[in-house]
């Protein structure tokens, strides 16, 4: 593997993503865990830049760090005395089985395309424009059905949230 800016960037973002992930599961403090999660998500945004998808990178920062992570910090802080938890999660065996299964699935999914005789595809060097992305979302041959389904799902979730939050009397 040749050493160039992309390779160095890949390693930096990998360290950020994986290190952030390790931070999330090892820290005892939920707020610090949220910050680690943001570090991890930031690393993922870096991957999008390396994959020539700046739009997705910006959306990653905006939505995941700017909105979802902030919401998580809110949830963490509004939960009573949750920042210094002492109880331990003791069901070790089910957790071990579940994480091992997930790890094997990922291992299989990632290594088979590398070592199998599948046609390898390089990451596109041409930067995908936002226009391409927008066309793909509304094009009949593109992803219009998933796009509409996601919209319906989000609308349903929003209506549900309003319904739950509404006063009983009105």
């Amino acid at each position: 593997m040749e050493l160039n800016a992309v390779t160095i960037g890949f390693f930096v973002f990998s360290i950020l993503t994986l290190g952030g992930g390790i931070g999330v599961v090892t820290t005892r403090n939920l707020f610090q865990g949220t910050i680690w999660l943001m570090v991890s998500l930031f690393g993922v945004a870096g991957y999008f830049v390396l994959l020539s998808a700046p739009f997705l990178a910006a959306v990653q920062v905006l939505v995941y760090i700017g909105a979802i992570a902030i919401l998580i910090t809110f949830a963490v802080m509004l939960t009573r005395s949750v920042t210094r938890i002492n109880e331990r999660y003791i069901r070790t065996i089910p957790s071990f089985v579940a994480s091992l299964a997930l790890f094997l699935v990922l291992l299989f999914g990632i290594t088979v395309p590398i070592f199998g005789d599948y046609p390898t595809e390089m990451a596109p060097t041409v930067v995908m424009t936002t226009r391409d992305l927008g066309v793909a979302l509304v094009d009949g041959n593109g992803y219009v059905v998933p796009f509409l389904l996601a919209s319906v799902l989000l609308t349903a979730a929003m209506i549900g949230a309003i319904f739950i939050a509404r006063d009983e009397e009105s």
Partner: protein, 408 residues
């Protein structure tokens, strides 16, 4: 040699420097310039802000250090640097020290996509406008972190209050930002400015500008939304534990953010560097941008020093019940109008190459839509105001009766 090496880098290579070194040096100069301009501006801005505030309040303002008090900021800076750097014992050390940096960086990084002239800019990102929103959202994170890491309940409560405000006002801000993006058909800041060669976007949609102006005033935490630092009754808010230069970072970030917003509004709605003779020299173009940004900046200072503070519930109600629906309606109506006019052939499909005459019908229709919306809104507001006054009158009458009854 690739296309990255132009200008200074090319010059260095031609005079015999190493290609890699030349590229690195020219990039470094670019980065230093882009980050240096805002860092130097903020020193002047603090003086400007204090002088303007003083004049509005019928005071003189800083006038002792240097001519017209111009050196006052440097004296303050030295004082801040010399102060004891306190970290509370029970604070989270790393996060406590990182928060001011993130806060300042979230403002300085916006300048990466600010085009100073048609030829001088940090980067012309294809997603410039989105980049601005994404970076600005990091400021919220900094405030939350500062409030939590201080391990002080007043700081935490202050952070809650502010983050609620910032997250809420980001919604109308983005919807208002979408109007220039939609009109220009691009998120690149350079394209957005160039698309205003025919007509400034503020004329096409004054409502979008007004919403952007109000939301950015809230985003910077200035009056009437100055809940971030309500010094008198809310114990300063999230930055209560900070002292010395760390406090100075928050302070500088806020001052710079206000000016940055002025420049952004000039770029998005007032044609950026467009003005008479801007094509003659980049310096004239830069002067136009500076002038427009400064005028908008001064109006925000004027507003800040004139209006009283709102309560948090009033701020939230104003945002969610007024600004958000208004910004969505504005966007839907304008985009529908633009599409219909493009289909009819009276609106240019590409704003970038449209002249004044090409844009004229679009301008008239959009302006009329906006004016109609404003008229409708004023009607609603008038009705609400009347109801509120009637209610207040009734309450007062009741109070007066109760008082006179007690007196008997």
């Amino acid at each position: 040699m690739d296309e990255l090496c132009t200008g200074l880098c090319k010059l260095m290579v031609e005079s015999g420097a190493d290609a890699g070194l030349a590229q690195f040096a020219s990039l470094l100069v670019g980065v230093l310039l882009v980050s240096g301009v805002p860092l130097l501006t903020v020193i002047i801005l603090i003086w400007v802000e204090r002088k303007v505030a003083a004049r509005i309040q019928d005071r003189i303002g800083p006038n002792r250090v240097g001519p017209l008090g111009l050196m006052q900021t440097f004296a303050d800076l030295l004082k801040l640097l010399g102060k004891e750097d306190i970290t509370p014992t029970s604070a989270d050390r790393v996060l406590y020290n990182a928060a001011p940096l993130v806060s300042f960086a979230s403002v300085v990084l916006i300048w990466v996509v600010v085009p100073f002239t048609p030829f001088h800019f940090g980067v012309d990102l294809e997603i410039g406008a989105l980049y601005f929103v994404a970076i600005a959202s990091l400021g919220t994170l900094a405030i939350m972190t500062a409030g939590w890491a201080s391990n002080n309940k007043y700081a935490l409560l202050g952070a809650f209050r502010v983050v609620a405000l910032l997250v809420s006002y980001e919604v109308p801000l983005v919807f208002a930002l979408l109007v220039p993006v939609m009109l220009a058909g691009s998120m690149s800041m350079l394209d957005i400015v160039n698309a205003q060669a025919g007509m400034w976007f503020v004329v096409l949609s004054p409502l979008a500008f007004a919403i952007f102006y109000i939301s950015s005033q809230a985003e910077t935490g200035r009056a009437p939304f100055d809940l971030i630092e309500a010094e008198s009754e809310l114990v300063a808010g999230f930055n209560i534990e900070y002292s010395g230069m760390k406090f100075g970072m928050f302070f500088a970030a806020e001052f710079l953010h206000v000016f940055t917003n002025g420049i952004l509004m000039a770029l998005l709605f007032f044609g950026g560097w467009m003005g008479p003779l801007y094509y003659e020299s980049p310096l004239i173009a830069f002067a136009w941008l500076g002038l427009k940004g400064t005028i908008i900046y001064l109006t925000t200072l004027w507003l800040r020093n004139t209006v009283p503070r709102l309560r948090i519930d009033q701020i939230m109600a104003f945002n969610w019940k007024f600004l958000v629906p208004l910004s969505i309606a504005n966007l839907i109506l304008l985009s529908a109008a633009l599409k219909i006019m493009q289909e009819l052939g009276i609106a240019p499909r590409d704003m970038l190459s449209a002249s004044f005459v090409d844009v004229l019908p679009t301008t008239v229709v959009m302006l009329l839509i906006n004016l109609a919306m404003v008229a409708y809104l004023l009607g609603i507001l008038r009705k609400r105001g009347r109801e509120a006054r009637r209610e207040a009158g009734a309450n007062q009458g009741m109070l007066a009766r109760a008082a006179s009854g007690a007196g008997d």
